[in-house]
Symmetry: C2
Subunit: 619 residues, 2 copies
């Protein structure tokens, strides 16, 4: 995720500070103006000149196939985002267009996803039903954060979300989403959004099940399962030559399987329409009237003014709060993970920084057409790849199909049963749940089960948005703990105690190190001066300076001395500038032992041969 043309501040022991940064700045400005950089920023300029007619054929087919998948998914996902169905379509086309120009993967297709819909429904719920003000502001800010991260090469942040945390979060989100659709399958009303109350109320209200909804819902689920199976049929005569008709038939079955969502939704809508014509209208829950036509092109509203509710920009921003950070990061994680997976599978490379810029720009532009946040969709990217896509141009076809649907098909969506959309969602998200990881981690690395299980449980119990934060925080703490509590090696040299920490001295560890040394030097009535062996300390910060100062002062109270040895040049420079009184530094341990004015010095041992002793502190 780091890159060779960005402004990247590194803290290295040997070249701290301004010289390196200046060079990088120069390189950065130089790189901005080259043709190579422009090509890198607009990857379309790389593939468009070589684009052929056969590429176009493949892209049209895959573009249409993806379009067939995204239309029913979009209608359904908008519900998860707490928005009317047309917003799912509004969110589906602009990403495809933008990605065509800026994307570095031929397979990725941007648009609404289950996770992003859930996050939108969690962080950006307007106080007015069916109002998208919050969602659209989230889209804009999500894009801005992603674009800024891309320009500053902050894609590295993705590396700090560990695999078990993503895995547990995804499973918990899938369960939340899937269970959230059970109410649609059974035709229940007024079920809350939070997971635990949702489960409780769903079961408590099962008595009010609408039979026709349930029948249609379960039929859709079964149909989806069976039709999707067609895609993965293994023919026994795979390797034998086949006739054209055989090939066409098999291709058709595959296409039929891939378009399962569309097939089921259309059939269910047909059934619902005939049921309604038979006057059993009230017994089936349908989508109802959708706003027809393309979304308006407009600058987002940054405040809400209605007769009853007025909310300022500040209020809206503070309500979305952590969403401005979590949602762009999740979008980034999804896109990068998908992009890398398909790049590896199809033997090409993606540029994560450029991907970040692409989804950032896609979100920023999308907010002007009332979209909620978009990112790379795993299921549709897979469909795209399997349909033989050759370039991101297929996105243009997908986008065009969606525009056509918005313009022409919206009246038909009136009859789509909610239960069928619920089935589409359930069948899409259930495959996101990964139970196998539990067994794998149990066998391979049990420690990683801790963030996994805690993320999973807290996502379900206290909410998906807090679960991911708890998980990230916990895994970072597990990473940081050893930095805060370094191991100290002790060597007794008569009246002198030699101490050697196994790593750098920074703000999490500085106080711990100095307090531990003072305690060790004065414990059991035997007061010993201290030689602090810095051979493993490559960097030091101001907190460490304060720690050293306290060490010197605390030992002076006991009339003891502190000396440093094996200090790296860069560390020495900082310590010298800090002018700590009564702290002497020596080149080697031997010299330090000879110079410190104490009795019973009996030679020295090498760093590497020291006896290691476990660390015990009182507090």
């Amino acid at each position: 995720m780091s890159s060779n043309n960005g402004l990247q501040v590194q803290y290295e022991p040997n070249e701290m500070g301004s010289i390196r940064i200046n060079q990088q700045l120069k390189q950065f400005y130089k790189n901005i103006c080259t043709k190579e950089t422009l090509k890198k920023k607009f990857p379309i300029s790389k593939w468009l000149p070589k684009y052929s007619l056969s590429d176009l054929q493949c892209d049209v087919i895959s573009g249409l196939t993806v379009g067939l998948t995204v239309i029913p998914q979009g209608l359904a996902y908008a519900k998860i985002a707490g928005l009317p169905p047309q917003y799912g379509l509004y969110s589906s086309f602009m990403g495809c267009f933008v990605y065509c120009f800026l994307g570095t993967s031929k397979d990725i297709t941007l648009g609404p996803t289950a996770i992003m819909s859930l996050m939108t429904g969690t962080f950006a719920i307007s106080p007015i039903p069916n109002d998208a003000t919050y969602a659209i502001i989230l889209t804009l800010m999500c894009g801005v954060v992603q674009l800024v991260m891309g320009l500053l090469n902050l894609g590295i942040l993705v590396n700090f979300i560990s695999y078990p945390v993503i895995n547990a979060f995804t499973s918990a989100a899938a369960i939340t989403i899937a269970f959230g659709q059970v109410k649609h399958i059974f035709g229940l009303k007024n079920i809350p959004r939070d997971f635990l109350p949702m489960v409780y109320d769903t079961f408590a209200n099962l008595g009010q099940t609408k039979v026709w909804d349930m029948v249609l819902g379960f039929a859709s689920l079964v149909a989806l399962y069976l039709i999707k199976k067609l895609r993965s049929i293994k023919w026994q005569d795979e390797d034998e030559p086949k006739s054209t008709s055989q090939k066409v038939a098999r291709k058709f079955l595959w296409l039929f399987g891939t378009g399962a969502n569309a097939v089921v939704v259309i059939s269910a809508a047909g059934i619902a329409a005939s049921l309604i014509s038979m006057n059993i209208k009230d017994k089936i829950t349908i989508t109802g009237h959708l706003k027809q036509g393309l979304p308006p092109l407009q600058v987002p509203a940054f405040s809400i003014h209605t007769r009853n509710i007025t909310q300022s920009t500040g209020e809206i921003f503070s309500k979305i709060g952590a969403g401005f950070f979590i949602v762009p990061l999740l979008g980034l994680v999804e896109t990068i993970a998908i992009g890398k997976a398909f790049a590896r599978q199809n033997s090409y490379k993606i540029d994560p920084t450029q991907e970040l810029i692409a989804i950032g720009v896609a979100n920023i532009i999308s907010c002007f057409i009332s979209s909620y946040p978009v990112t790379g969709s795993f299921s549709r990217t897979a469909v795209n790849s399997q349909s033989g896509v050759r370039s991101p141009a297929s996105g243009i076809v997908t986008g065009a199909l969606i525009l056509l649907a918005l313009q022409v098909l919206t009246p038909l969506f009136y009859y789509v049963p909610q239960a069928a959309l619920g089935a589409v969602i359930i069948s899409a998200v259930l495959q996101m749940i990964d139970w196998k990881i539990l067994k794998i981690l149990w066998n391979v690395d049990k420690i990683d089960l801790v963030p996994l299980i805690i993320t999973f449980i807290s996502s379900l119990v206290i909410g998906i948005e807090y679960g991911i934060m708890v998980g990230i925080g916990l895994s970072l703490l597990m990473l940081l703990y050893p930095l805060a509590r370094p191991k100290l090696k002790y060597i007794n040299q008569g009246n002198i105690l030699v101490v050697q920490p196994n790593q750098g001295m920074n703000f999490p560890s500085a106080e711990f190190i100095s307090e531990t040394i003072v305690q060790k030097a004065t414990e059991g009535g035997s007061n010993r001066s201290v030689i602090f062996d810095c051979c493993h300390i490559y960097n030091i910060d101001y907190s460490a300076i304060l720690g050293l100062k306290e060490l010197v002062i605390d030992l002076e109270k006991n009339k003891l001395q502190v000396a440093l040895c094996h200090v790296q040049p860069t560390v020495l420079e900082v310590i010298e500038r800090a002018e700590i009184q009564n702290l002497s530094t020596y080149t080697t341990l031997d010299i330090a032992l000879q110079e410190l004015p104490v009795y019973n010095v009996q030679g020295s041992r090498q760093c590497e041969e020291d006896e290691s002793k476990p660390l015990l502190r009182k507090f």
Copy 2:
């Protein structure tokens, strides 16, 4: 902050996993039941048996002095918290009582502080003016979080807030608070709470200054400055013997200086009362009627129900949001920092874990008497220490004095001018601003200026609550960056590339390491098999396993092999359990070089002698 009797999960290379944790659990449960533990949890049992009459004398004097300081401070700080003045007094006494039983420092005095008042006013502002529902819920949860952190030994979290971040946050908070009082000094109305709009509106409205407020405000400021000076007078004949009257006179001057707040507030109230009796009532802003008497003892309300506004527990909790984490952590930082400073000065030790429990319990109990969150106060702890306090028993005296004030003095507070309270606050917080740190860091360690300046600016510009989060996040990222981008050493051995990372392979670095190696091994058309030297890798997680798997698969595509050498036993165990196909491990680099089936192997070199090469990646 870690402790010897708590459940402490450590990830050590040599003793991973369950055995150690089991032992710790046993030790933990064993420790719970000893007399020693009970003594540790109730430190009063240590000092009370030895308590003497002379201790009592000292504690009464210091308790009264602190009480004299906290009463005017409490009235003033409650304004910062957005609450009526009596809440400052409600918050002042219970902490003193609880700390007497549970605290481990003789000097610390708990109660309302400027920072906690600001945080309460930021995170817990009720939609109903003067309503404390939010603040009281914050107190309860703050206590619960602190108590849980104490019981789980999570005080270590404090170590992850670096000195420059705390310093910058404190200065920014002091500036925000001080400038927030300018409106009271000038008698201005309707000034917003956020810093930038507040500064703008304050200047824009200067024309509406109330002259009497301004005169009283500036007079109070000058008086406070001069009277406080009395405390620090250096007498030239310090060492000479003095007569009793001289001693008494000097002691009286010191006491007068220490009680500056009370002196100024009482005088200002007297002046205001006489002005009002002279019928210039409208020209001076006074505190007005306070609710008299002790606060009601009641279970906190967890929701708001009025005619216009209804808010559920969930809504209130989600509005306070990050406050439930930031406020307890800041309270902890304040108490520990103060406790350690005075413990060092007076040569005793505090137990940070027990301090955490003490402030946790203090907050939990305080919420039943309508208190907002309390913590250790630096200014009053200093007064306590200088007054010669001997034990936490002085808190009882302080608390009793406040109860007396609530019962008897509240009618007198009616006349206290707002301008005088504003002056009390300004004179208290201005000394919290630390400019010197800028020069020190510039000289000693310029890198630390980055989190300092960014925390300071973002605290003022985007809000104090976000500033601290930005600062903590940034300083952690600076700490984590080297973990995510380890340095790789390369040695060319003919057709074999030997790679040696300088530290462990964990989730932030796993993908980076494997991608970098693949690129290096296949760059420039020269395909080389890879020996991955693990001599500096002491721990590994599941992400690293995935990284190794990807490394093997990606190199296999180029018909290249991967071998590991110098694998630590614990790391080897994890790798073997993961059963990565086609990954061979060898004891030493020499053996690996001999066994890998490639040409041109020409012996090997030692780990430590490898040529180091800077790392360049494409992305």
